[in-house]
Symmetry: C2
Subunit: 582 residues, 2 copies
């Protein structure tokens, strides 16, 4: 088998050792995940503003496709909360909820996002997702959780309220608070309390009744099914749908039809930026889960192949009338804990959903939207992590600023502004930091060949030699800063005859910095000072040799800083080396 | 005197020691620079599409203001080629040349640019100019030189042609080539040849006649005055202006009036981006010249105060009806070579220009635009440095790509697209580079405590210990790369029991990388591997102590890498240390 096929079709690798024991195991896992996924599919379709069946459609083809292309053995793909929110945010400005145009836009979004992921994967550009720094993604998920929870208050309480951002939704809720529906609110609040209790306490209760820890955990995750059964019974039994309780209604029975998305340049252009953001956020969420679960079994994830797998899954979602999907956190944990051995478990889950779509949908007719809203709210509350701001601030105020800005912008301006603003701010703060790096004047530690910061250590210096250590790569944001440091040193040290840059922390010297080093060399020459470098790393030396700088340098490039000082003032250097350390 | 005043008014420092000897010296310098500046002022006004007198106005108030606030003793402020081109590019889309709106926009541009520089200076944000990397600024200046030279072919040859970019101008010139004016072209081409000869040969000729090197150099710089006198005589004597030779015409005699710029939100908003770019480019050009000249006398330039000085100079230009100015390269060199002792020389130059405006303008009536065009073309040809692409490519292909993109975009799309595109590309390439840093598996060099790359050196390793050195700061663009490196190492080394990151090249660890280190710690723990760090720098240790990472770390943070390996396998470490080096 050629490596090409093995790389692009991981199914070949694990498929070769598949046997009946693994099959039985995977089938049991699929049953558990199917039960968990049915309410989630309906709920996330509601969150995205789409009909319930679209959630089910998005939980079939993508799972089978991921099983073919994915490198994670535990990842469970499908609709997830944050991506559903981003979908609603992207297409709401383009079409009204419930219109065919809205569905077309959702399908287009899945297609474009899928194609983008495929292209990134084929070109091996997965590193682009790194520009979403951890504080930005963490802030974004917290803000999304708040916004999702707020938006679900409307179906949960039966208050008509719609807004594109948290702020708009909160205002609409406050304005229409008097239109609350008593029956809806009762179902919603009771469901919420029950689900909240299940989440926190059911597992330990089951354990007390003698169930194994793992099994108890899995049961607790499928608990929402109970809430759904009870609330369907109550609504149907009392005919509450006639009292203003909104229900899911009739879901078309049957498998999704093949959809050939129509190319619409205006629509696609306006979806480009949201599709890119959905791709990156979805990928980051998915790859983190996949890495975490894989390392528990010492398995490897291929980040570029994961792009291809998620891309293909989204294209699959689009051509079967679904909306954007990615690997979900909670669902993948269940998949892993239940003991999924191979990605085939995901494919069997898809078959489970297909069977549910064929035979169970009539039973869901009386399912109240309020119960789905409660499901979503309980799920997203775990996303909100405001303490992270404090933790991040303690470690790095700059990172906390990026996180805070992301949360603020997401809540006030929406998901796109939040993400883009956060990324730009974290880039800017990084460049700002490296543009003014830590600089130490160094001197020789008595009794050693080591050179240390004169401010932190008692060291020996020669007034005719100024040694500077810059703790950063030399590159364009700090190139002129370096020039300025040298200019200051020249003006401040009239006795200086030699200037040495200790380059032990310098990982690169770009063309701007090279130009600055040349300018420094020339200016030091004009001032009658000889310019040296020390401890330049191998790869940098290789490149410097190709430039004219080495030839024009008034001094030399020394292997160690001690060598440099010794070559200028051997007596003092040796004397200090032989002295007793203070 | 409070340091506040000394810092913001450098004139206090040098003014205190001013005496009659310096005065005489500065007056002589001012005379030389005035003679050089008169044709330049007229030419750069023409390049900016403005009436000739605006060039003279921009050469008065700004010079006096710079003398008060500037920290360079040699910088000569006034209209310069690149900034004049950028001015034309910024305001041409907003108003037709020759209209009052065009002049209003130019004045507004000087004002906004001046205010921006002032704000940047007061907030000490001069580092922002560093984001213009050297390859980008060098490429931009080359492309500007080409574009300016092309645009001046129209007045030089008397071909009516106007375009916003190099491409448009070149096409217009080709289309209208048949409309060439014989008299104009003769004057233009002869002036160009003469000026080109003066530039290259006059100095050496004068030296051969016994003139001192310095004096000959200065005379060569003021040579253009001769071309101007001759061409005025020819046009006036033969009445060539009646044969289609375009002349400067009547320049209003008298000093500029005080202008209170009107606030116009639409106009100002559309000038914001061009004003920022003009500010940054002008500042970078000016500060480079100032640094170069200052170091020759071991003097210091204060980069933040220079922002204030240039900002005030531009506000001064605006309120006296001028257009954006900055420190010019050629003119400052002449100022320096002629022996300018203090910024007062600049103030005296302003007086010289004022006298010229009062008394000499009638003499300039018959000055042909073609001669001014020749002046500009000869001046800008020295800006074009295509060889720099090759040099940069040899040193760093990534930097050469940024330079090439800047040149290409500037020529095809204009100055703004070129600068912004170049900056974005250089940022992206930097992030790309640091997102995939150099990583070395290291082992112990026999007979030493040193650890080196196993691929480059013959070293001793223990299969249960994997040591990785990453030559880059740990931060968000490479955080997941680090995780991936560790995941690969885990999958590839089944015998691994200990994993060590040697952090000697790590200058920072941001919150994203901290999160990744925590994930790595957890995943290694899940795989039964103990995680260590070595050679972590002081400032990073200070911050790590504030996080939970140090407590949860399965291994330890060791001072040296030898300590780390010794703590795990003391026998092998000591044995290798005592072995004879291979």
């Amino acid at each position: 088998m050629k490596p090409f096929f093995r790389n692009y079709f991981p199914i070949i690798t694990w498929g070769a050792t598949y046997n009946s024991k693994i099959l039985v195991n995977d089938l049991v896992v699929a049953l558990v995940v199917t039960i968990m996924l049915i309410p989630q599919s309906l709920a996330y379709a509601q969150l995205a503003g789409l009909p319930a069946e679209i959630g089910l459609y998005a939980s079939m083809a993508p799972l089978i496709i991921y099983a073919i292309f994915g490198t994670s053995r535990s990842l469970a793909v499908g609709p997830v909360a944050v991506v559903s929110l981003m979908t609603a945010a992207a297409i709401s400005p383009l079409a009204g909820q419930g219109t065919p145009e809205y569905l077309t836009a959702a399908i287009g979004l899945a297609l474009i996002s899928g194609l983008m992921l495929l292209i990134l994967g084929i070109l091996k550009l997965g590193f682009l997702s790194n520009f979403l720094s951890h504080p930005v993604i963490s802030g974004f998920i917290t803000a999304s959780g708040i916004q999702i929870a707020t938006s679900q208050l409307s179906p949960l309480l039966g208050i008509p309220a719609h807004g594109e951002t948290f702020l708009e939704t909160a205002i609409a809720l406050a304005q229409n608070a008097d239109k609350i529906n008593f029956y809806t609110a009762s179902i919603g609040i009771l469901s919420f309390i029950f689900l909240f209790w299940v989440r926190g306490n059911l597992a330990s209760l089951l354990k007390r009744f003698g169930m194994s820890v793992r099994l108890a955990g899995i049961f607790a995750k499928v608990g929402p099914v109970l809430a759904i059964i009870v609330s369907i019974s109550v609504v149907a039994g009392f005919g509450l749908d006639k009292n203003g309780v909104r229900i899911v209604g009739s879901i078309p029975q049957g498998l999704p039809q093949l959809v050939i998305p129509q190319f619409d340049s205006t629509l696609w252009l306006s979806l480009l930026v949201p599709a890119l953001l959905i791709s990156v956020v979805g990928y980051v969420e998915s790859i983190s889960v996949a890495h975490t679960l894989a390392s528990k079994k010492r398995l490897r994830i291929d980040p570029d192949q994961e792009l291809i797998a998620l891309g293909a899954a989204n294209v699959g979602a689009a051509v079967t009338g679904g909306f954007p999907v990615t690997g979900g956190f909670a669902r993948s944990i269940v998949n892993f804990e239940a003991g999924a051995e191979t990605p085939a478990a995901g494919a069997f889950t898809a078959i489970g959903i297909a069977l549910a779509t064929l035979f169970l949908t009539p039973l869901l007719f009386y399912l109240p939207n309020a119960t789905l809203a409660a499901t979503i709210m309980v799920a997203v509350l775990s996303l909100v992590d405001l303490k992270a701001i404090k933790h991040t601030y303690d470690y790095s105020p700059a990172d906390a600023a990026a996180m805070g800005a992301t949360i603020f912008l997401t809540l006030i301006q929406g998901v796109e502004a939040g993400l883009i603003g956060g990324v730009l701010l974290s880039l800017f703060l990084h460049l700002y930091r490296t543009s003014k790096p830590h600089v130490a004047v160094v001197g020789q530690v008595s009794g050693t060949e080591h050179f240390r910061n004169v401010k932190r250590y008692s060291v020996v210096t020669d007034p005719s030699i100024v040694s500077l250590r810059v703790d950063e790569s030399f590159y364009f944001p700090n190139a002129r800063f370096l020039e300025n440091q040298v200019n200051q040193a020249v003006a401040a040290n009239p006795e200086m005859k030699h200037f040495i840059f200790q380059c032990s922390s310098v990982n690169t010297i770009d063309a701007s910095a090279l130009e600055s080093l040349e300018a420094i060399n020339q200016r030091l020459k004009d001032s009658g000072v000889i310019f040296h470098l020390s401890e330049v790393k191998g790869p940098i030396m290789d490149r410097l040799q190709k430039s004219h700088f080495v030839d024009s340098l008034t001094g030399k490039i020394h292997l160690t800083h001690y060598d440099a000082v010794y070559s200028i003032n051997p007596e003092l250097a040796r004397q200090t080396l032989n002295a007793v350390r203070k």
